[in-house]
């Protein structure tokens, strides 16, 4: 397919989905729903392609004889075993659930626990790297929130009010400000794709 055809198709489909969202006319809404469903199916197919890619990348690393390919062996063996076992027994069988509950969940929980330590370490590293007004405000707020959220300080009259004010006023105002900027960026990106100046497809 040549690029102008792909671009025309993308613009046409984008316009139908957009108008179907704003103008709730029967045919437009139905067409929009159908196209979004197709997109969902294509995303699922892309997921399968992605898993094949993951497999291919690590098999290629093993074949190339890289020094650091221990994890590639682990990935290829565990991926193959999981596909065979879950494919054979089905996703709700006790064997499949055992794999999920006794391998995946503990590993992810360990990484989550590790994350808490890494975040503290990163704040210290940030202060060594750049000390500006934003960093200082960030650290003071984080330390204040941690201290006031713990032990008996949580219930102390003035501190708990200040804490509530930071969460309900300052944090919400800041988050909304950031969100307005992000939403404008999202709309601008969508419109550029819609008019065909951004083409995340080669056609």
């Amino acid at each position: 397919m040549k690029t102008p055809v792909a671009t025309g198709l993308a613009i046409g489909v984008g316009l139908v989905v957009l108008l179907g969202y704003f103008i709730p006319v029967g045919i437009l809404s139905n067409l929009r729903q159908l196209l979004v469903e197709w997109a969902g199916i294509l995303a699922a197919v892309a997921l399968l392609v992605g898993i094949f890619n993951l497999y291919y990348v690590h098999v290629s690393k093993i074949r190339a004889g890289h020094e650091e390919n221990f994890y590639s062996y682990v990935l290829v063996i565990s991926l193959t075993a999981t596909i065979i076992l879950v494919g054979w027994f089905g996703p709700v069988h006790s064997v499949s659930r055992w794999i999920f509950n006794h391998i995946q969940v503990p590993i992810e929980s360990s990484l989550m626990a590790l994350l808490a330590v890494i975040l503290v370490y990163m704040i210290i590293r940030m202060l060594r790297r750049r000390i500006d007004h934003l960093s200082i405000i960030f650290v003071i707020t984080a330390v204040f929130m941690l201290i006031t959220a713990s032990f008996f300080l949580y219930e102390m009259p003035v501190l708990s009010e200040v804490r509530k004010w930071i969460i309900q006023v300052m944090a919400v105002a800041g988050a909304r400000g950031i969100l307005i900027g992000i939403v404008l960026g999202i709309i601008a990106t969508g419109l550029r794709v819609l008019i065909g100046t951004d083409r995340p497809y080669s056609g």
């Binding site: 992605g50 950031i178 307005i180 999202i186 008019i195 951004d198």
Partner: protein, 247 residues
């Protein structure tokens, strides 16, 4: 058609008109009309240094859903990838991308294939990778790239949550420059502490303009600036009307 829908459609129409207005004729804007964003200056320098040193850029698109609102940040990431790959594709160590969603892997490969063809450089499918489907496996795969693929700079532009800290930590240990921005609010807090050059809020959506992706990117920056003020006025007027009891 409700009043909200009419307002929404009108807002989009005005946005589109402003983009087209500032992207055409003698109204075109130069990037010098806008403030400097240090992260993009650093990224441009990092691309040059990576080429000279024979090292690699790793761009991570995150794990946002391609058919949800997170797709916009993914497309922004692809615009940046498009520009970076035009310079790095002919090198010994071309850019590698990581993502946590199959569709982003396909789109990143497609982007790199087309830019590689444009500069007459080879393309290998293993340059665009899916590293995992849930947050931590995705991060584990991305940090494997960071540590073992001669990476000099991590560009993290996409939808990230807490797992981002694992990738940047690996980068820090390897002496790698971390640059990034995300559309996720908790992710932004982590991005601020974890990267050398964080992109805050909408700055991440200026990536295409600051990396030289075209006139419409710069025009959309001006449109965003104008409409941001319009929204600020609407919010303030709404708050004032509420205060005096009209609303």
């Amino acid at each position: 058609m409700t009043l909200v829908n009419i307002f929404g459609l009108a807002f989009l129409a005005v946005f589109l008109i402003l983009i087209i207005y500032y992207a055409t004729g003698d109204r075109k804007l130069a990037l010098t009309n806008f403030r400097e964003i240090k992260a993009f200056s650093t990224l441009r320098r990092a691309v040059g240094l990576a080429l000279e040193a024979g090292s690699r850029i790793h761009l991570s698109i995150g794990r946002g859903n391609v058919i949800g609102p997170q797709s916009a940040i993914g497309f922004q990431s692809l615009s940046i990838l498009n520009r970076i790959n035009q310079f790095t594709a002919p090198s010994d160590r071309p850019t590698i991308t990581s993502s946590g969603e199959g569709a982003w892997m396909v789109l990143s490969q497609d982007t790199m294939r087309s830019t590689s063809q444009a500069v007459d450089a080879p393309f290998d499918q293993t340059q665009g990778r899916l590293t995992g489907l849930t947050p931590f496996p995705f991060a584990a795969g991305a940090l494997d790239i960071t540590l073992n693929e001669e990476v000099a700079t991590n560009v993290l532009v996409g939808n990230f949550g807490g797992e981002l800290a694992l990738i940047t930590e690996a980068g820090e240990r390897g002496g790698i420059l971390n640059i990034g921005g995300t559309d996720n609010i908790p992710g932004q807090a982590i991005m601020f502490t974890a990267t050398h050059e964080p992109l805050i809020g909408e700055e991440v959506f200026a990536g295409g303009a600051y990396m030289g992706a075209g006139d419409t990117h710069i025009a959309s920056l001006r449109a965003q600036d104008i409409l941001r003020w319009v929204l600020i006025v609407i919010v303030l007027v709404g708050a004032a009307l509420k205060l005096i009891g009209v609303l």
